[in-house]
């Protein structure tokens, strides 16, 4: 399977299969964090090709989770983008912080 896929289970829960080529573990976890107060989320496996996430309801209304899974997928896109940006910029971020807190060395050198 090479695309994302949603399965409706008999017990009312929803299985979401994700293509891990599209979504990294970090992006999935960051997204999950934003939904755990709305429904139960079970990240069952994260394997070579797919990840399986099971959503089940916290309250009565089952249609809620259908909607939540859709929102989850939307949020996942922005979260993956954040992971990508972070990957591209994390070295520079580190350099900025170390430069910011070590600024006056060269003054001392020139005073010597």
């Amino acid at each position: 399977m090479d695309s994302n896929n949603i399965e409706y289970m008999n017990d009312g829960s929803i299985n979401l299969n994700l293509d891990v080529k599209l979504y990294s573990r970090d992006a999935i976890l960051n997204t999950t964090y934003r939904f755990t107060h709305k429904c139960y989320i079970n990240l069952q496996k994260y394997e070579e090709k797919t990840a399986l996430i099971v959503f089940s309801q916290k309250n009565e209304n089952n249609r809620d989770i259908e909607l939540l899974v859709k929102e989850f997928l939307n949020e996942l896109i922005d979260q993956q983008l954040r992971v990508d940006i972070n990957n591209e910029t994390k070295d520079i971020r580190k350099m900025i912080i170390s430069e910011a807190f070590a600024p006056l060395e060269n003054i001392n050198e020139s005073e010597k």
Binding site: N30, D78, R82, I92, E99, A100
Partner: protein
Amino acid sequence: MKNQKKYKFLPFNFMRLNGSTLVTNMGGDFQILSNETFDKFINYNICPTDSIYLDLKAKQFIYNNSPNLPIQLLATQYRTKKSFLRNFTGLHMVVVTIRCNQKCKYCQVSSEDSDANEYDMTPETAKKCVDLIFNTPSPYIKIEFQGGEPLLNFGVVKYIIEYAEEQNHKYDKKLEFVICTNLSSTNEEQLEFCKIHNIYISTSLDGPAKIHNQNRIMENKCGSYKEVIKGLQKAQSVLGKDKISALMTTTRASLGKFPEIVDEYISLGFNSIFFRSLNPYGMARKYQEIISYTTEEFVSSYCQGLDYIIDLNLEGTLFIEEYARLLFKRILTPFATGFVDLQSPTGAGIGGAIYDYDGRVFVADEGRMLARKGDTQFLMGHVDDGYKTLFGGDVIRQTVASSCVECLPQCCDCAFQIWCGADPVRNYTTQGDLIGYRPTNEFCKKNMALIKYLLKKIHNAHDEVLDVIWSWITGTCINLNNLSETAENK
């Protein structure tokens, strides 16, 4: 497939707004992009000939050759934004008594009756507090007297001020005193003392009589409005209006009535207000249902109140809302702002500390309420323990370590990160741990909503509104149609 990259990214965060996308960087600079432009931006599709390309480059969102200059510029900006860290603890709140002559509905302190003298700080403890305070490396010390009603133990207030001034001959710090008083028991002698020692008064006023009296009640069960106004006018006439500010606390009674509250403040000679939301922690349960409200209700009242104040400014009345001023300054300027309740790392402990009447030292006010219930999470120690044990101890370290928005879940990639802060104490009291859980965090919800509103204000502002906003930030109002006067003033 990605196109050949026309530029590379510098670190940034983004947030979807209504129909557009906000991008912010480590220096606190920002740009609001249409969703379409944002898509082009993140797909490396903006061309050097587009003006937005130059905007993003000038604001250090992208670079094309060497990252050296952007790193230097962002490092300087970041250092400036975090420069509040340089000074360490400057605000020292001293609870000289927990006795009070009022029984306000939202009071967290569970204050004692006004004749229960065993709840007063002793001069011995007071001396130790001052000795401890002067250990701070901060060149600036603000001692704030809190209570209860601190003036009920005026002897110790007086002692601390005189002793601190004497000590300061040795330390030469910029020393400032504030007395937080309800002004309902103030006498001439106290005011004369305040005048001689150049002391600031911070009082509490929730609005006109019908609002104020619902919240703030004397021991005899009557509203305290009349007493406060009498005390306020006396204080203003002795000390001058600029020495006295007031705090308002929002309760259900004040929702939707912020304009009336502002009018009341103006008529009493104040030139600013701080629309403060209730801190539900520690409040008597029987009142909670009557006076509390949702974050959404507060935000909508706040926005209405802020609009009203900005309109007043446009009509020529100089009046400021302090929380908006703080946030505007964070959003629009490269500078740091000292405000212990919204800082990263937190200001609890390293920005301000509180000394209880019995000599116990806490990182924050709620800490002593928790301690009364047996939870000493925020107890740094006792004044007897010495500066290093208290301010270098585990409590302050743990509190600070758990309060960097740069690493807190969800905060770490929030576009408001550089303007916002963490409140580990609030997280602990409302959500059970220092880190908290952002999706249901009311502190987060409130600040997100307010910052979004202020951003919208800035983004849609006419020149005249921007003039008002900048006059709050700089303290000088620029009138473009009368520059000769402005220019001469400089």
